[in-house]
């Protein structure tokens, strides 16, 4: 292709010779000559230069021809023009390009010389050559005059100052000169060195191997390192220029894909900006299909193409449908050598062994005794076949098919970390005193605020006053009606007992205080004229002088179950569960007045309680406890007990914690700061809880139950609101007998000591101390 190009170039230039100046018209020949000299130059040993030069020419020409070199746009145009037939212009352009090339080359060589990159030998040559070059450059400038133009496309081309013309060199062989200047003067040849000098120079000069002799111009050309490298690249069949990447990524300057063909400059049609009705229809269709479930986005799991044919045999870890690990059936033992019809001799038992088998027990005998047969034909049918099959089936039937997963947890770690009861002392542990005297089940008991006295009420219709220290019964009031409840007035200056029996609440002096206290108590239980019900028959209760004991009776319309004192000892509330609208009545002792605070009660009222310090009132129905704010006269809280039937209730002396005992054996602790749900529900009793009690000063609470036991708990309430109460069961107190499925009917703590009194259905009161 290159050669063809050259030819073409040469051909093209041939006719233009006549029209242009003779130097430029020589080009074609020169190129021809260059090409033809290739072989000779190769044999010369300094072929690189020529090859390089020719290839450079070729490259330049090729690039000119193809017009793909982006640097030679103008030449590309000239190509086109060539094609168009404007030959003259083309030659002009070519001439200009060649001229540019020479100029550049000169400049570069000059630079190289100046930079001192050339070695010494070259410099020697260069000294003479330089002057010539400068001369020539001057001549060139003169020659081309104003046409000088910088072109970067021909930077590697050599200046060709052909002064010989289009004549064979042989003609100058014997001449002193070679060619002529444009002024017609002879150009004198360099002095020919003899062969010895040449040789010596070659030996001395390290650049000799890359020095060429240009016959036409009569000069030595030293090839630069880049040129050598270029030659080497050409020899290796690579692209001469190292900086050219032959494998540059393809840049698709013209994207045709998705653009439609041919590219159109027409404006975008209007329809492209209007929503498509058809598309909308399709979308609606798809939406409907999705909604109706015709289109499902769930990918169907692809069935594996390859699967194990005998999968069952290896499925040991897979989960079965019921979530249990599959356990393969036990494999039967495979037959061994001894079961062969013709086993090796060592398997055959000897006569002695056979005899010894007979002496063995049947289960000790080997299962199979090998026998030898001459041929398979003689093997009899297997006698134990059915038995073996049966045993195999039995094995399969009995083999475990469920792997029980045992949870590997240390049972100790499941127990909550609670302090040891030993560290929580004191709490009641031992029975020390029994208060005997009641002739019926002791239903209720209470300790007086000082802790010196204990009052108890029994089904035998008596109220007894006991001395705590000795267990002596000090006083007996006979009321002839089973006593259901009694309570001491919490005010130490009012030694009064409120006793509930039948439909009445009896208020009487206990006779335990000093003179002034007793007088005060006696004054309080004298009937006043202002008392409720004294005159008005329609009142909810009737205050009257008691006939049974020295005191005051508040007679209700229904049976009274419970009475609760306000902490100041003037008000008390009574509960009569059967009365619907008058179930809770609040009485004032000082004025002997009764009021009905609730028009309606939500359910059967079991217990009522005053808050120990603040104006709150607790009403326990069977399943809920309602907390009323007495100051605001509204419901403050509703506690859900989560039990079937509340039997008893006690409040912590701090007033924020409440315990509830229920007939379904549960004891629930409410932290009212925390929630309206139980903080803890304790199910320790085997039977219904009859009574619960808080200790006034020690962190203790207790519950007693019909199972005949009382449980004592450590119930520490922290003043720090962030800390939840600590509840630890510390002691089970047994001792009471269960009589007619009734065990311990009431319990009360001693006000100052960690002692617990329990009232039993077995007619006794027991005192447990630390």
């Amino acid at each position: 292709m290159a050669r063809q190009g050259k030819r073409k170039a040469g051909d093209v230039r041939e006719p233009s010779n006549g029209t242009t100046d003779p130097e430029s018209s020589d080009e074609g020949d020169l190129l021809e000559g260059n090409a033809s000299d290739d072989e000779g130059a190769l044999s010369d040993g300094s072929e690189g230069g020529l090859v390089a030069s020719s290839s450079e020419d070729e490259g330049a020409l090729a690039s000119e021809e193809e017009g793909s070199d982006p640097e030679s746009d103008g030449e590309g145009e000239s190509d086109e023009e060539n094609e168009d037939g404007e030959i003259g212009e083309a030659t002009e352009e070519l001439a200009q390009a060649v001229q540019d090339y020479y100029l550049e080359r000169d400049a570069r060589e000059g630079e190289e010389a100046e930079n001192g990159e050339l070695v010494r030998g070259q410099e020697e040559v260069g000294v003479s050559g330089r002057g010539e070059e400068e001369e020539r450059r001057g001549a060139g400038e003169e020659r081309f005059g104003p046409h000088v133009d910088e072109s970067d496309s021909s930077e590697d081309e050599r200046p060709d100052r052909n002064t010989v013309g289009n004549v064979p060199l042989e003609w100058y062989k014997d001449e002193e000169h070679i060619g002529y200047t444009k002024h017609g003067k002879k150009i004198i040849k360099q002095k020919r060195k003899d062969e010895l000098d040449k040789f010596l120079k070659q030996a001395d000069d390290p650049k000799a191997w890359r020095t060429l002799y240009d016959e036409y111009n009569d000069e030595d050309i030293v090839l630069s390192k880049e040129e050598i490298a270029m030659i080497q690249r050409i020899r290796q069949g690579k692209i001469p220029h190292a900086e050219v990447n032959p494998h540059e990524p393809y840049v698709d300057w013209f994207e045709f894909e998705d653009k439609g063909q041919p590219l159109s400059g027409a404006p975008e049609p209007k329809r492209r900006f209007i929503p498509s009705k058809w598309e909308a229809k399709q979308v609606v269709k798809i939406v409907r299909a999705i909604r109706k479930g015709w289109i499902s986005f769930d990918k169907k799991p692809e069935a594996p193409r390859v699967y194990l044919l005998w999968e069952d045999d290896f499925r040991t870890a897979d989960k079965t449908a019921n979530g249990l690990t599959y356990i393969p059936p036990p494999k039967p033992k495979l037959p061994g050598h001894e079961e062969s019809y013709n086993p090796p001799l060592e398997y055959l038992p000897t006569e002695e062994e056979l005899n010894s088998y007979d002496l063995m027990y049947e289960e000790d005998r080997p299962k199979y005794i090998p026998r030898k047969f001459d041929s398979l034909r003689q093997v009899p049918s297997y006698a134990n076949f059915v038995k073996d099959k049966f045993e195999r089936c039995l094995d399969l039937y009995l083999s475990p098919r469920i792997r029980k997963k045992r949870i590997n947890i240390d049972p100790e770690s499941l127990i909550p970390k609670l302090p040891k009861p030993k560290d929580l002392q004191p709490f009641p542990t031992t029975l020390y005193l029994e208060f005997l005297g009641h002739e019926g089940a002791v239903r209720t008991l209470a300790t007086d605020p000082s802790g010196q006295w204990l009052a108890s009420g029994s089904r035998d219709g008596t109220v007894r006053l006991w001395e705590v220290q000795t267990g002596r019964c000090r006083k007996v009031w006979s009321l002839n009606t089973p006593v259901k409840f009694l309570s001491w007035n919490p005010n130490p200056d009012r030694p009064l007992l409120a006793v509930v029996f039948g439909r009445s609440v009896l208020l009487m002096g206990s006779g335990t205080g000093n003179e002034t206290q007793s007088e005060a108590a006696a004054g309080l239980v004298k009937l006043q004229e202002t008392a409720t019900g004294a005159a008005d028959e329609g009142a909810v209760v009737r205050w009257q002088k008691s006939e049974r004991a020295e005191g005051l009776e508040v007679v209700h319309k229904h049976d009274v179950a419970h009475v609760s004192w306000h902490h100041k000892g003037d008000y008390f509330a009574s509960t009569s569960p059967d009365a619907v609208s008058t179930a809770v009545l609040v009485h004032q002792l000082g004025k002997q007045q009764t009021q009905n605070p609730f028009r309606k009660n939500h359910g059967r009222v079991q217990r009522v309680l005053f808050h120990p310090t603040r104006p709150f009132f607790f009403v326990a129905t069977q399943t809920h406890v309602r907390v009323y704010n007495l100051a605001k006269q509204q419901l403050a809280k509703k506690l859900t007990a989560g039990v079937n039937q509340i039997s008893s209730m006690a409040i912590h002396s701090g007033g924020d914690n409440l315990i509830i005992g229920s007939y379904d054996n549960k004891l629930t602790w409410f932290d009212m700061d925390l929630s309206t749900k139980p903080y803890r529900t304790l199910r320790y009793h085997d039977s219904s809880i009859e009574g619960v009690a808080f200790h006034r000063s020690y962190p203790l609470f207790a519950s007693c139950s019909d199972d005949g036991s009382a449980h004592v708990f450590h119930g520490m309430v922290y003043s720090n609101l962030l800390e939840n109460p600590l509840i630890v069961p510390v002691k089970i107190l047994r001792g009471h007998k269960v009589v007619e499925s009734e065990g311990v009917l009431d319990c009360a703590f001693h006000p100052t000591q960690p002692w617990l009194f329990t009232a039993g259905a077995d007619k006794s009161i027991k005192l447990y101390c630390n």
């Binding site: 005193l433 010196q452 000795t470 000093n514 000591q753 002692w755 630390n770």
Partner: protein, 425 residues
């Protein structure tokens, strides 16, 4: 007993005693079988003494009474069997023998045997009774409207004494008893009012001029009962006496407490006045306090863990406080050791609350105690095991005291006042 038979271990012992010459044995050391107990050693001593009448002895090893065999003593004390044990022997305290018993109308709650001539007993019916040493009821002092809880006796000039009774009716009554040696008769001398709750305990000062009472109102009141002061004409304040209608004509005047000691937070259950100015008091608030009467200040406090119901000061040098309370242990505290907070000794043998403890005045090792289990126990504090246990009462025993050196008198909830005599103290 000894499985090894012939080759039983021998222990080298030397017997010493402080008894008179006729009971001394040679100072040489003997080899006695290690299995010997108190009884065996007693036989050895008797054979060495070669007296006709056998006499039981008790043996002290290192200040403790021997209650096991010598062998186990060596083991427990980690003594080498090669050493020579020095054993002191003392005559064994004889068994208390029931002498007589007298029925009261109600529970016998207080006994005082300070006076050598008469014994005073207080009863829940509010009557204090005087008994002769032979156990005859001499006279009764009636006047209290509620149970007598405690009594004190101040011996006066020959043949007379003052009896102070404390009662749950919040009063103390001072009775002057004359003719204690022959036919005593008591007159109400004073009614001391001031406590606002039941009085639990009363004790007379060693000087006999004052009494101290502890009450449920948590105070201790010190009252002057000196006959001299009264004669001196100090103007005691007259108090109304109308409520004691049954008061005999002998009641003249009532006085206010001289000092009120406040400090206990709960009922003062027992007081004892051992030295001139020092009162010890025990309370339901688990503490034993020592008070300086002159300065009316609490000088020291020992705090236990249980309610204390009984207190007695005595022992060696009068410095040991024996307390009993709402648990079966008798605790003995050393009041000289102010640093210790725990009790020095715990004596565990009773099965109920301790209702009374009493040191012997002269035999400083001996201590009496009664309990709700109905027993009276006699202790030698050198041993952790009681010397004697007498099932004196069928129900709760409430009070006990020494009387006339070797008689133990106890009262209980079975309304009995029982006398027991030690045959050789």
């Amino acid at each position: 007993m000894d499985a090894m038979g012939g080759e039983e271990r021998q222990v080298q012992v030397r017997f010493v005693t402080k008894l008179p010459e006729e009971y001394r044995v040679t100072n040489a050391s003997f080899a006695v079988p290690a299995r010997l107990t108190r009884y065996g050693l007693s036989e050895v001593i008797n054979s060495l003494l070669s007296t006709e009448k056998l006499r039981p002895f008790d043996f002290l090893v290192g200040g403790e009474l021997l209650r096991t065999s010598l062998e186990s003593l060596l083991v427990s004390k980690k003594l080498s069997a090669e050493t020579t044990l020095t054993i002191e022997y003392i005559p064994a305290v004889g068994l208390p023998k029931p002498v007589s018993s007298h029925v009261h109308d109600d529970w016998v709650s207080a006994i005082n045997g300070t006076s050598p001539d008469v014994l005073v007993s207080g009863c829940y019916d509010g009557v204090a009774r005087l008994w002769s040493s032979s156990g005859e009821a001499l006279t009764s002092l009636q006047g209290h409207s509620d149970a007598i809880t405690s009594t004190a006796v101040i011996p006066r000039a020959s043949g007379s004494c003052d009896v102070i009774t404390a009662s749950k009716d919040r009063t103390l009554r001072v009775w002057q008893v004359k003719g204690t040696d022959s036919q005593p008769s008591g007159d109400l001398h004073q009614v001391l009012r001031g406590h606002s709750a039941a009085i639990q305990s009363v004790v007379a000062s060693p000087s006999g001029n004052e009494v101290a009472s502890g009450s449920w109102d948590t105070t201790i009141k010190v009252w002057s009962v000196s006959r001299d002061a009264e004669d001196g004409g100090s103007a005691p304040k007259r108090q109304r006496v109308e409520d004691s209608g049954a008061a005999p004509a002998g009641e003249q005047e009532a006085r206010e407490a001289r000092v009120t000691l406040e400090g206990h937070s709960q009922c003062v259950s027992a007081v004892d006045w051992s030295r001139a100015d020092t009162i010890h008091s025990a309370s339901w608030d688990h503490s034993v306090r020592t008070w300086d009467v002159q300065a009316a200040v609490n000088t020291s406090t020992i705090t236990g863990s249980k309610v204390i119901l009984a207190l007695s000061v005595g022992g060696e040098g009068g410095a040991l406080l024996a307390t009993g309370g709402a648990d079966p242990a008798i605790r003995i505290w050393d009041s000289r050791d102010s640093s210790s907070t725990g009790s020095a000794i715990q004596l565990l043998s009773h099965k109920g609350w301790i209702t009374a403890v009493k040191w012997h005045k002269t035999r400083t090792h001996q201590l009496l105690s009664t309990s709700h289990d109905g027993t009276v126990k006699m202790w030698d504090v050198r041993s952790k095991v009681p010397l004697h246990t007498v099932q004196a009462h069928t129900v709760k025993a409430l009070c006990v005291d020494w009387f006339q050196e070797a008689t133990i008198v106890s009262g209980g909830a079975d309304n009995q006042l029982r006398f027991h005599a030690l045959d050789n103290p």
